[in-house]
């Protein structure tokens, strides 16, 4: 067991109207949780589907667990687990039956009972799929992805559309996968999810990887990793006059101003002084560390959440 779990070089895929994946290089180490973060339409899902063997790339190389689709497709399928963005099962199949059935497709499979416990579906084990809540259906999809005791698991937007509690319960399952030594590759457009789960991230935009690294390093690599916020009652006024006086860039948001800085300690006294001199009617001052959202914003000039 040596070499990376996944290695991708120069991956490209164009659809009739859009270039979905435009030259992606990635390397995922064994045992890590790797995230593809980006807005909808960034090419995350297409990238994942090419890796999973569902879509054929126009060009590029993929090596999964040292195997290639061209020669060892069946072995790859046996050793990876996949959760698709929407897992469609028969309406009237029960979780127990689904796990039994999908387990029978593999040379090696985990016990159904153990999987039901892992995703906390023991009580719903014999309920029809259609009667499960969204979170329960997603947990079943995760259990199905683990049915063959895979070395590598691919999860496509595992928590999209779930309420906060259901999301956290799903995060626990992902952490347990990592605890069991599996390599996990997931896509998400939630920055909190990426920060909470991923050892390393690739930020994608318009078919390209625009940054790779640990969540912490992506943030600290920013030239200005801190943000000072002045919040207002109601909507924020036009900051241009104040920005000129302060000598810093001030970005207006709905009800606050953002000033990015490498050194909040030095900025703060100047900022308060200028604000007082200009009688700016702000309510509160916050200093926060930059987030992945800011990383995306700084690199693309656009917000992650459209």
């Amino acid at each position: 067991m040596s070499g990376p779990a996944l290695r991708i070089r120069g991956l490209k895929k164009a659809f009739p109207k859009v270039v979905a994946v435009d030259g992606v290089d990635l390397e995922v180490a064994r045992g890590e949780v790797f995230g593809l973060l980006g807005p909808n339409g960034a090419g995350k899902t297409t990238t994942l589907e090419i890796i999973e063997g569902l879509t054929v790339a126009d060009s590029g190389e993929i090596e999964i667990l040292g195997l290639t689709w061209a020669h060892q497709g069946k072995e790859i399928r046996s050793r990876i687990g996949v959760q698709l963005q929407s897992t469609s099962l028969f309406n009237k199949i029960t979780p127990r039956e689904a796990l039994d059935l999908y387990g029978s497709y593999y040379p090696k499979c985990r016990g159904t009972q153990e999987l039901l416990e892992l995703v906390q579906l023991e009580e719903k084990a014999d309920a029809y799929h259609i009667t499960l809540s969204g979170g329960q259906q997603q947990r079943l999809a995760l259990a199905l992805a683990l049915v063959n005791d895979p070395e590598m698991v691919f999860l496509d937007e595992p928590t999209t559309g779930l309420d906060p509690q259901a999301r956290r319960s799903l995060w626990d399952v992902v952490r347990r996968m990592k605890g069991e030594g599996r390599t996990v590759v997931l896509t998400t457009h939630y920055m909190d999810e990426a920060e909470a789960l991923c050892d390393r991230l690739a930020i994608m935009d318009r078919g390209k990887v625009i940054a790779t690294g640990t969540p912490a390093s992506l943030i600290s690599d920013l030239a200005m990793p801190s943000v000072v916020e002045l919040t207002f009652e109601g909507s924020a006024p036009d900051p241009s006059a104040f920005a000129a006086r302060l000598g810093e860039a001030v970005e207006p948001r709905t009800d606050l101003w953002e000033i990015r800085t490498p050194d909040p300690k030095a900025l703060l006294p100047r900022l308060l002084e200028a604000a007082e001199a200009a009688t700016i009617p702000f309510q509160q001052v916050h200093i926060r560390r930059a987030t992945l959202e800011d990383v995306f914003l700084m690199r693309t000039g656009r917000s992650l959440r459209e």
């Binding site: 569902l54 399928r77 990876i80 996949v82 698709l84 009237k92 039956e97 497709y105 593999y106």
Partner: protein
């Protein structure tokens, strides 16, 4: 083993959809019971004529009425106002009334099939009545023999209908059920979830095909049982021949379904497409009406469509106890269609 599991699971899930299962099984039975009972006496409804009562009955009227009553014709004698009311409601096919010294027969243009035949009978009775009144020798009738064309035994409508229903079941199973399921699986991503597992795709498809095949066999068994219990219809041929024909037909129309499913993007699209194929196939296969009067090119086209030869062979075995030897060409035509559809299905079939 994998195939068996897949097959067993298909049946298990199918069994949970009680409503769908009930109707799949019950619908052909209801059709058989309904039409078999309505047309119990040989397929065509009795002919009838409305006779408008004359104010005074002459000897001529009496002779005519006597001659009419000797025919296989239902004569309804009504007073003038009632007869007219019935006529204007459009319920009367033919109405006979006195007109001066003779008679007048009015025919309903919407019911010409019955009215035309009735007119022939009424005229026949009039000729007989005239002969009797003039003392001429009684006219002789040509003896009539009822037969089921193309068949050795004379059978009733239910036994004509039953093989047709068996055949139609296969067509709708293939075109509507198999094809529609494929399109909806693809649409909803069920195929994609299977595609990321190492399960060979042919096992999944074969499991589905075997399931459909056994559903068809179960349907046929129920239909045969009801036919036998209610109408006393028995399979005259060998059950092996019957099974062979049914298997060939199932293969053919299932391949049709698979092939068609490759041409539709959505379930809605498939519904339109399958009807586009189903109705010409059904209407132009000589199942419901004969195409003797159709142009030659249409007749030639129909002769090489798969449904007609399939049903002909099925009826020959079932109703006449014929062997398959006499229907070689028909079975070859069905087989050729099955092969063509199968090749097309392989080329067009998509998982995603």
């Amino acid at each position: 083993m994998l195939l068996w599991r897949q097959f067993a699971m298909e049946w298990r899930l199918y069994g949970r959809d009680r409503v769908a299962m009930f109707w799949t099984m019950a619908f052909p039975v209801l059709l058989l019971l309904g039409f078999g009972t309505i047309f119990r006496d040989g397929g065509s409804p009795k002919l009838s004529v409305v006779r408008v009562q004359s104010p005074v009955s002459s000897t001529q009227d009496a002779a005519f009425d006597q001659a009419l009553s000797e025919l296989h014709l239902k004569v309804q004698s009504l007073p003038k106002p009632e007869a007219e009311a019935r006529w204007s409601r459009g319920e009367t096919a033919a109405q006979l009334e006195a007109d001066g010294a003779g008679y007048r027969l009015r025919l309903n243009s919407y019911l010409m099939a019955q009215a035309g035949a009735t007119a022939g009978l009424v005229n026949q009775a009039w000729l007989v009545a005239q002969a009797r009144l003039s003392g001429a020798p009684e006219p002789q009738r040509i003896p009539v023999q009822v037969e089921s064309p193309g068949h050795k035994r004379s059978t009733n409508y239910a036994s004509f209908l039953l093989p047709g229903l068996l055949g139609l079941n296969l067509v709708s199973m293939g075109l509507f059920s198999v094809g529609m399921v494929n399109v909806s699986y693809r649409e909803k991503g069920k195929f994609r979830r299977l595609a990321v597992t190492p399960l060979p795709k042919w096992i999944f498809l074969l499991g589905q095909v075997l399931h459909r095949l056994t559903v068809t066999v179960a349907q046929a068994a129920i239909l045969l049982l009801v036919g036998s219990l209610v109408f006393g219809i028995q399979n005259q041929g060998s059950f092996l021949d019957l099974l062979l024909i049914m298997t060939l037909g199932t293969g053919c129309f299932m391949a049709f379904g698979f092939a068609l499913s490759g041409f539709a993007e959505t379930s809605e699209g498939y519904a339109a497409l399958s009807n586009l194929v189903f109705f010409p196939l059904m209407l132009l296969s000589g199942v419901y009406f004969t195409l003797d009067a159709a142009p030659a090119w249409l007749q030639h086209t129909v002769a090489i469509m798969p449904l007609a030869p399939f049903l002909r062979a099925l009826r020959a075995v079932f109703n006449d106890g014929a062997g398959l030897a006499g229907h070689g060409l028909g079975l070859v035509i069905v087989g050729a269609w099955a092969l063509a559809a199968f090749i097309l299905a392989l080329r067009r079939f998509r998982w995603a």
